[in-house]
Symmetry: D2
Amino acid sequence: MIIVLKPEATEREIDHIVDRLRELGLKPHISKGEERTIIGVIGDDRILQNQPLAVLPGVESVTPILAPWKLVSREFKKEQTIVDVSGVKVGGRKLAIMAGPCAVEKLELTVSIAHEVKAGGGSILRGGAYKPRTSPYAFQGLGREGLDFLVEAKKQTGLPVVSEILDPRDIELFLEKADIIQIGARNMQNFELLKEVGAYDKPVLLKRGLAATIKEFLLSAEYILSRGNRNVMLCERGIRTFETQYRNTLDLAAVPTLKELSHLPVIVDPSHATGKWTLVAPMAKAAVAAGADGLLIEVHSNPECALCDGEESIKPTKFKELMLDLKKIAEAVGREL
Amino acid sequence: MIIVLKPEATEREIDHIVDRLRELGLKPHISKGEERTIIGVIGDDRILQNQPLAVLPGVESVTPILAPWKLVSREFKKEQTIVDVSGVKVGGRKLAIMAGPCAVEKLELTVSIAHEVKAGGGSILRGGAYKPRTSPYAFQGLGREGLDFLVEAKKQTGLPVVSEILDPRDIELFLEKADIIQIGARNMQNFELLKEVGAYDKPVLLKRGLAATIKEFLLSAEYILSRGNRNVMLCERGIRTFETQYRNTLDLAAVPTLKELSHLPVIVDPSHATGKWTLVAPMAKAAVAAGADGLLIEVHSNPECALCDGEESIKPTKFKELMLDLKKIAEAVGREL
Amino acid sequence: MIIVLKPEATEREIDHIVDRLRELGLKPHISKGEERTIIGVIGDDRILQNQPLAVLPGVESVTPILAPWKLVSREFKKEQTIVDVSGVKVGGRKLAIMAGPCAVEKLELTVSIAHEVKAGGGSILRGGAYKPRTSPYAFQGLGREGLDFLVEAKKQTGLPVVSEILDPRDIELFLEKADIIQIGARNMQNFELLKEVGAYDKPVLLKRGLAATIKEFLLSAEYILSRGNRNVMLCERGIRTFETQYRNTLDLAAVPTLKELSHLPVIVDPSHATGKWTLVAPMAKAAVAAGADGLLIEVHSNPECALCDGEESIKPTKFKELMLDLKKIAEAVGREL
Amino acid sequence: MIIVLKPEATEREIDHIVDRLRELGLKPHISKGEERTIIGVIGDDRILQNQPLAVLPGVESVTPILAPWKLVSREFKKEQTIVDVSGVKVGGRKLAIMAGPCAVEKLELTVSIAHEVKAGGGSILRGGAYKPRTSPYAFQGLGREGLDFLVEAKKQTGLPVVSEILDPRDIELFLEKADIIQIGARNMQNFELLKEVGAYDKPVLLKRGLAATIKEFLLSAEYILSRGNRNVMLCERGIRTFETQYRNTLDLAAVPTLKELSHLPVIVDPSHATGKWTLVAPMAKAAVAAGADGLLIEVHSNPECALCDGEESIKPTKFKELMLDLKKIAEAVGREL
């Protein structure tokens, strides 16, 4: 940690700061320059999170040096994490394609889309049973029944299932019925939910919040790992910007950045990122080219009747074509589908 | 709702769209221009939230005309809502000043700050017992014990208490111990929590999310009202932008905008908005000048030892001075303190 | 254009609005719904840019239907524009790779980098002679001499040259010495400069502004085309967001979106977009996968001594490796390098 | 400047970094911690702007300590700058109110609005002769003739005049006819224009760019001061965010922040910041409460016929009322109107 002092900081103020640092078990090193005095502090920045050093008289700024996370970092664990999702490996050479409807609506439809996803080359079935909708008047999902439909689709196709949890009180249900518990963008900083899923070893797909920095994203993952659950996958799904042509701005630079900073697998969701089915294919291709470990794609056999996010769903035939294109790009970057 | 068609839309596509609209019980009006055909749709836009009309062949764009909320709107209820917080009225001519420490730490300290807040002219005591912290290694709050300290402070000063809930499983505790249940920025779209607090008539202070639009903010309030709880106060607390000089960018234009669109009281939190105690006073003054119904201010008698957000807390003496200045500004805009 | 009226709009107000529209030569169509009256206006939205209809009494909102641009649109010109840059075609099946140093520093260095760029497979040499620097104390470029070095490099390698103009008074110089005149992000809305380059037929590379919407970006291009110059290439180079891990956030969804809305070629600059050389390769690959028509890449043989943006420059060996990878991705999406 | 090394940095790399720093005339201080080695560098950070130290092998990050500006800083000049605009003082106890039409349209109208501005208590007349319009098809201003109308209005009312320059080739014209040269938001980083106005001592009103950080804003002002012109006024006019209810998000925390960092006067433009006349009054009040030294307000006697930005213009009667309210708020914060 680096503490920069104000030009007018007095000796007494400096002494007070140094005393305070020593009380906290830290070793301050003072460097006096012509324009500023700087105090370099050796020790664990993390124990300082509860200490508002910036308010000490004479302090101009405090800059942490060490990353505030630990368990999620590449520095802590060099080798890439590979999450085992009921037999499907996520994070290895082979890309994981998670596809399916935004919301689970009917049993037959769910099963038929699952078959299409499998036929197209998808390895995991996605489907929302509990839906976080901006408006209270929008379809809120089938709930428990939706999860049962996914379980049935899994039984028939063998595809493991990912579905979003909204309420910590539903944890038992998800442990039983889902293969991956998804924490959605709106809940990325729902810390009680993070702690809840952190208490088990069930794989978790953690989506980046609408306006979450990479740092906050990794700290939310750290919440889960610090509770004991190491099976976490990160998911970039677009961030909020001023641009209104698409729902969000897909931030693909996050992919190599997250992979450099962390050992966790990185998935990209081009469907929610754009909110437009015409952009799903180019962004899926770009994500694979950028080094993503997998994709989360909305597929629906009848988008114009979908109860949720039909605008961003692609049809099974488009999905199949896309998979063929992705195969070539995956090979070009040393991966396979 | 206005549906704009693509220039190349065929008659068959137009017929299909019109049929679909009629199936939904809506009345389409077609206007053919030189460059585009437009379909105006009379009827309730809200029932369309589950219908992805933009994917119908031939459609270029769909623009809703009516606001997607109802109960929170000024159109639905013309007169200003005044929330009664255990006797303190919020939303009337008199401004509501909610002040206190970011996090509740010790009983004595809590009680002494409460006395200072009261002496300065504050009308409600704020204090966090459960703290949503970005890092799992930061102080997470005292929990239930913290709420008890607030109850004790209320007993000694008479100040009603506002505190933040994080987990729907704590609802009973908050119903018993808090006078206002706060939903923090990170939980603005934690819809399960919104539904939970919506089921009672306990006053709720709903904070705007870090990157929430005015529209999303009002829809989150609509979740609470639509469940039956009409005692909702909105709180602007800064939004996330590219600027790094302050923690967030306080969006004061939201104050008159929210008050025009909705009948709910609007509170401003200059402390979290800026993250710097030096900016609290000017932003508190600006908020009152902009028409806010109240303020949420962090006050701590020893900021440099505060376990949470000491950087943005002002000392009781500063708080008293600020209140004197605010009194003059309140009068200048036809309000009182 | 759609005009939505306030619920309380009076008949007199409606008449006034209708009269005003007719005065402007437009045909209003009135639809009265239960909650709102809507006026659909048939006619050219563009002539309305100088008419503040939203202030007419009784008006709630005005929504344009037609895009505000014309000459740049795919609707106006269906076939893809291919810009001929001194023999190098930009916008066709073959990708255009523009590479070179951020700033031109020395003649020998410029020529040697040009040779490396050519050897690696680049088709156009980039290099800044006039540099728009955030700080007045940073290196401002060699100016005219820098352009001469580029001309010499072109003479020796045959690579056409792209360089940035800052001042309309330099237009003659650029017409003589550059093959492409670059308008940088900071000048995207320097309309006098746009008008200046619009008066010739010299190819222009127009970069998207730091916080420019797609709409503003296309309107800036429209400035150039409307003055007569049709040889415009658009360049996505990252937008400003809250994320601080990289200099900007590369917005790759802009690529297919621009290509759908416009017939102009779309280039991507992964170097300025990220500001980090480690991110240049993954973002270059992603850009090609997303459908870009070319790339603008900073290459420097000794980045640690570069006078400008050394952090984001890749070395010639890296550039060669990248080109081999890009070749495969280009093929996977039906293009060639 | 603080250089943090990678955990795996070798002794050889450290030696190379230290050598490089010494070559640049800087004094490195090395501190070795358990997790990281840190090099504190004493010396002028500013000479490092052309040195990409972050690319040196072994370096993880480089953090500057000193602000990159000098002449604009409060540290360099403690006393508040008061700019003399043809006799009207800006930056002192008395607030400067600059008001008038967005664009100058007709002589009579300009003069009549000028009289209204003066009668209402305004001290400077604003009016655009050259208009930077997003669309090439929008009214571009009257140019030289518009400046003449302003000169005439000044002659009749005695109000000094502020008008925006777009092209460095117009400098002579502005030196002759305007009392303040305005650099608009879109030109905040048009460095050639900054250098041009920096060469004279004519007062300059520099507007913050749409997505400019405080740091970039001050550096643009530094461009002007470093060329010799000390008569610079800063103008906050809203920044671009995701919110679409208003044109921009007025960032009032910038006011006390700029005044703390710099000695230059700070003006606020509530009209362009919001783009809605209903928000002008509350934001003007908030700006004064936040400590602004003046306001820039659009006033038009017939907004519905204004050729530019009629939506955000207030009528002269509203302006007068607003001035009365502002007087009270100014007094409440120790200023006068």
